[in-house]
Symmetry: C2
Subunit: 424 residues, 2 copies
């Protein structure tokens, strides 16, 4: 796949934003935890102060959004309470413990050298995202919290909103000469992404958040490291050892499908062991149908619940992000794991079982970033995991996996303090 | 930069090795620490047993090496004691603590869910390296130790030796049906690298070890994550606060330059504060000259040590890997850090100073993977840092930085154990 050609103008814009972010790295590293906290509190206030202008600019985005789906329009829309929530998120990030405040490891070596594996900022982080304007604010605050410069590249649908939010943030950073610490690529040109992800030596990490097309574009162009925040095709497997957990199984699936169907940790396929299927399928389908969920089952499921739609091969591979659920009956845990390995995205899977040994086998076989035993897939979340605010949920295997908090926006540096030691 | 076209035959070979390695992942995950240790002990014995055939094959590589430099021939050459050392390294890796044996974190959440951040193997690791055949054995043993399948892609100069070493290792793995856990790309075709680094979904990580040309080729083709093991242009800065450390400064530089000049953590440029230069430069140059080191200094250094060669711009950027040292006089710590940021490779830098505050400033300003205070750059090493055996020294900023041991060949998986929790 060849990246699209980049126009001179776009390239110039990207180089300018990136080199200014890179120049901000050094002064950023000199801010201590207290300084960073203070600035974040001021940013939260600025967002509140600038709410009227942000809403005005958001209105322009909404007026241009007539061709978008209702779901996308909803993601795009800001109102006073959403702006408050944005500012509150920044305040919460400000109050989180300093992600740079502790050493990863520390020891004295036999040579007498004292060795620290010290947390340091990554440097310059590029965040590429789609329509939700609050990501602009969250990503800027989280990257700043961990001492990083950030380059924001949001969707063109929210350009006016993003510009206004960035202006508000930069009004605070400007007071200490650091407005370049939050850079904004203000261009609808898609090739800007190709240009940015090839700036190795200037940009240290790309975090793309979005669908498969964005992931592919970034992966195939990038010469800088990428931590993907991709889709989730999540599964729940109901094991044959279920005595006493039957109602909880139904509740968990209902929660995982309906509590917030449009997010990446919602369940998309349920696999049921054939020994418990006659018992659980009718109860499950009844509860789900009552909640407005459309069921697409394999032939065996259909035989237990006449009237449901027959699932096709493509259903197993689909992340619906909607009130639709695929259901399949399997004859063993191994068959369930094989299904998950074949169709899953290694985001989050759950098993409902009373058998600890089967749970451990499931954990080892599915290889996913998060595995739930007897609880909802919806718990795969930075807030729930106790990370505080999250930059997203990584679907990459390296650097950070699953929910990714401020500390995952740091790397480390080895510091060896000696008294004249030489190596023999 | 366009990757070279890949021939059908090479592509077929790469796909075959990779898919067999991928199929080995699941059985590998089922081996416990004791099983992996036992296999490693057997591999060490097999290497000792097969020494005669490995030496015979190595002889073929040496016979074909007439066009290589003496240094490269030396790297290529095996003898009985080098084979013993190879087997001993495997025994040492076997005895190291289990890299998968501990959780990264563990806590009970307010919901009552017990959360573990559990260490797991990365999966399939591709190691690309140059002429030294012992890397074949080290890399296979370290990847296996951490439960990973490995794909080895060594230099064509050592093809016979590598083939014999892999055969010896696979003879052990074959007894438990796991010979595919150590794959070997047996082809001199350079485009094999392009093919392999684009196998996302099959290969999880590429570790290239070598010079800038290899790094560039890998970075520009790769769609899989890469942790580079690149060159080191390392610096030592002699600060103005030096009272009492003068002799140690000379000893440290002598050690960092001459103890093993051909390795990446040897020093290449020394920066001296102008206030101490008149005192330290003559002593330093005398000691280095006596050790056979050629000095290339800037004009100010030359004025203190007549007869030395004048350094040019390209000297500052050169990793000599030889008994040559560049020397430059600077007027401040900031000027030293600016030089390092301009010409350095963020591998390892050292400062010699009695002033703690200046040391801390240096650490923050240079941003390198390892920073030494008052000791030799040669300590930037997995063995010295207490990591046990190392796969190499990462010059990437993400996933692993600096010396990289068995635990750096793992990632993690979140496991949440509940009792029916749903999210509200």
């Amino acid at each position: 796949m060849n990246p699209s050609p980049v126009s001179t103008e776009t390239l110039q814009l990207c180089r300018d934003v990136a080199s200014r972010a890179s120049n901000a790295k050094n002064p950023l590293r000199k801010l201590d935890a207290r300084g960073r906290t203070e600035i974040l509190r001021l940013i939260a206030s600025a967002i509140r102060r600038d709410a009227p202008s942000i809403l005005r600019e958001n209105q322009k985005d909404l007026e241009a959004s007539s061709t978008l789906s209702d779901a996308l329009k909803d993601r795009l829309r800001l109102d006073p309470s959403r702006i408050s929530a944005m500012a509150e998120a920044v305040d919460r990030i400000a109050l989180q413990p300093d992600p740079l405040g502790s050493n990863v490891e520390e020891r004295t070596l036999p040579s007498g050298i004292h060795l620290q594996k010290r947390r340091v900022p990554i440097g310059v982080i590029l965040v590429i995202y789609e329509s939700r304007p609050n990501v602009t604010c969250d990503a800027a605050a989280l990257c700043f919290k961990a001492g990083n410069a950030v380059i924001l590249r949001g969707g063109k649908e929210s350009a006016h909103s993003n510009r206004a939010i960035v202006a508000s943030i930069q009004s605070v950073l400007g007071t200490i000469g650091l407005s370049d610490a939050v850079g904004f690529v203000d261009s609808p040109d898609r090739s800007a992404i190709d240009a940015l992800v090839q700036m190795d030596g200037i940009i240290d990490l790309a975090i793309p958040r979005g669908g498969p097309a964005l992931m592919k574009a970034v992966t195939h162009s990038a010469t800088i490291p990428v931590v993907k925040h991709d889709a989730g095709n999540c599964h729940i497997y109901i094991d044959q050892h279920l005595t006493g957990l039957e109602s909880k199984a139904v509740d968990i699936i209902l929660n995982a499908k309906t509590q917030r169907p449009g997010v990446c940790n919602a369940v998309e396929t349920v696999l049921v062991h054939s020994r418990v299927a006659p018992l659980i399928i009718p109860r499950l389908i009844e509860a789900l149908s009552r909640a407005g969920v459309e069921i697409r089952g394999d032939a065996r499921t259909q035989s237990l619940a006449p009237g449901i739609i027959l699932a096709t091969e493509s259903d197993w591979a689909t992340e619906y992000l909607a009130l639709i659920l695929a259901v399949r009956i399997v004859d063993s845990l191994d068959e369930a794991c094989l299904h998950i390995r074949t169709y899953g995205s290694q985001h989050t899977e759950a098993i409902i079982t009373t058998d600890q040994h089967e749970a451990d086998r499931f954990i080892a076989e599915v290889e996913s970033a998060s595995v739930m035993i007897n609880c909802s897939t919806r718990f795969a979340d930075g807030g729930e995991y106790g990370l505080g605010a999250e930059i997203g949920i990584s679907t990459s295997k390296l650097h950070a996996r699953g929910p990714m908090g401020a500390q995952d926006l740091t790397t480390y540096q080895w510091v060896a303090r000696g008294s004249g030691q030489i190596r023999s």
